[in-house]
């Protein structure tokens, strides 16, 4: 028996460890090498952790994410130049999902930009793109009065996700959050934990209500423990990257390297709305985005199947006898109970309801094009 999806738990090559590594070991975590970091892949069961986030709450260590502080008088105009989104329109205390494009419109990374205070932003990038994003920002900063600081090694990022997450944060000893009850989706607020400060944001990667807490390394273990204690009565469980991946897939959220890459224009990934052409000034990648993907460029779709076998990244997608695309992510959906996948397919095969087939290791399974996301939580305020 061999695994065809590579997961290494051997730290021989010295992947980086989270500041919370010892806590995870005590909790019995299995680890995986993700973008050069040895991170918890699961603590007990991928499915149990997934269901806990949908029905109660899960706590994730996502310290591998990269945090870059952008500050200075020109921070806003600089980010409008460097990024695809209309950052200047984001008021302090709010956040925006955005993209770093290259000159050809290809996606260098997808990021979240938090506007923390006047002239002060935090750019959160994927672990694997930490240096790509940092380099891009530095190269684009010429002529702007801004200071860039890579805070990745100083910050631990803890996500608490699930319907019970707000109650858990409110009950966490020592954590005092300014305006938690009124915090909107994609908004952030200051908090204190003991003598330290924490940035609490209502963001996440699970499709569930949840929060992300940016905390100084020295306070992180105590905060994790306090959150866990507060969550004990709410069904909170520690959750690993395996469940994080199935949760984001159900929520139709792209993963860099799967749905997004240098060869992908935002419009192909359904992210045209993330790019602001309303911005009056030029931004990196603008001309390519305005020109749009060429006619016939593949587009991202959702695919739903029956049975238990899921399409996986790289599996070919057929429309009749014609190969029309390939799967980028797929799994048997724990919440929905049937296989789901995201795939890039030819436009002619991309309309909802189109009946396609996925080649699953030599046998074809039926798959119908469905709108994304596959799963949407019941609406809540904000």
């Amino acid at each position: 028996m061999t695994e065809t999806t590579a997961t290494s738990t051997d730290p021989a090559d010295g992947p980086r460890r989270s500041p919370l590594h010892e806590l995870h070991e005590k909790l019995g975590a299995s680890f995986t090498d993700f973008a050069g970091w040895l991170m918890p892949v699961r603590y007990s069961s991928d499915l149990a952790e997934h269901h806990a986030v949908r029905t109660a709450a899960g706590i994730f260590d996502i310290s591998h994410m990269a945090e870059i502080q952008v500050s200075g008088p020109d921070a806003s105009t600089f980010l409008d130049h460097a990024l695809a989104g209309n950052i200047g329109a984001v008021p302090a205390g709010r956040a925006k999902y955005s993209l770093v494009l290259d000159g050809g419109g290809g996606i260098l990374d997808d990021i979240i930009v938090y506007h923390n205070a006047e002239g002060e932003y935090l750019v959160v990038a994927n672990a694997g793109n930490r240096h790509v994003v940092l380099d891009a920002l530095q190269n684009r900063a010429a002529g702007f009065d801004v200071t860039l600081v890579d805070l990745t090694d100083d910050i631990v990022l803890i996500a608490v996700q699930g319907p019970a997450s707000q109650a858990i944060l409110a009950a966490t000893r020592g954590l005092v959050i300014d305006g938690l009850d009124d915090l909107k989706y994609y908004a952030s607020t200051g908090a204190t934990f003991g003598s330290g400060t924490v940035l609490v944001a209502r963001t996440g990667y699970t499709g569930e209500n949840g929060y992300e807490l940016y905390v100084d390394v020295q306070d992180a273990a105590a905060l994790w423990i306090a959150l866990t204690e507060a969550g004990a009565g709410h069904g909170l469980v520690p959750a690993g990257l395996a469940s994080r991946d199935t949760l984001r897939l159900e929520a139709g959220m792209p993963l860099y390297g799967h749905e997004l890459g240098l060869d992908t224009l935002p419009a192909q990934a359904g992210l045209g709305r993330v790019v602001s052409l309303a911005k009056t000034d030029d931004f990196i990648g603008r001309s390519a985005v305005e020109a749009g993907p060429g006619e016939g460029a593949r587009v991202l779709v959702g695919l739903a199947s029956e049975g238990k076998r899921a399409g996986r990244a790289g599996y070919p997608v057929f429309d009749g006898d014609v190969e029309v695309g390939a799967v980028t992510s797929g799994a048997l959906s724990p919440t929905l109970g049937y296989p789901i996948a995201m795939a890039y397919v030819d436009p002619a095969s991309s309309l909802a309801g189109t009946e396609l087939q996925i080649d699953v290791r030599g046998s074809r399974i039926a798959a119908v094009v469905v709108p994304l996301p596959f799963y949407k939580k019941e609406s809540t305020n904000g």
Partner: protein, 123 residues
């Protein structure tokens, strides 16, 4: 947990229990743990002939896909329908109720002892 004292192993993380001319085959706890929650198992049909070292089935978790290799040459005499119906048995009892197939073997290759397998997995 089943009695594991008579088990032999392969480098592909299968266990083999030889009783007379029949080899019962499953995957190890180590392999099940690495795969995560198993949600789909595809086993060779009764009567099919297996060639040692070839892929004869699939074990799929939410996270990834594992291939089942035939550890011996022979003919499948029984496939574990309980596992096909409830794949989580491979996680909950990999050496017992989570067995996969019984094979009437024609020849038995050299297999790993428990110690050799433990060395392989570093456990």
């Amino acid at each position: 947990m089943a009695d594991r004292s008579n088990l032999q192993y392969t480098a592909e993380h299968e266990w083999v229990l030889v009783e007379g001319a029949i080899a019962t085959v499953g995957i190890t706890a180590y392999a099940a743990e690495k795969l995560g929650d198993i949600v789909y198992v595809d086993l060779p049909k009764v009567g099919s002939s297996l060639a040692e070292g070839t892929v004869v089935g699939e074990i799929e978790s939410t996270k990834s896909v594992g291939e089942l290799f035939a550890p011996v040459n022979g003919t499948v005499v029984e496939a574990n329908d309980a596992v096909t119906a409830n794949p989580e048995l491979v996680n909950s009892d990999p050496f017992g109720e989570g067995w996969l197939v019984k094979v009437e073997f024609t020849e038995l290759p050299a297999l790993l002892t428990a110690d050799e397998y433990a060395t392989l997995t570093g456990e």
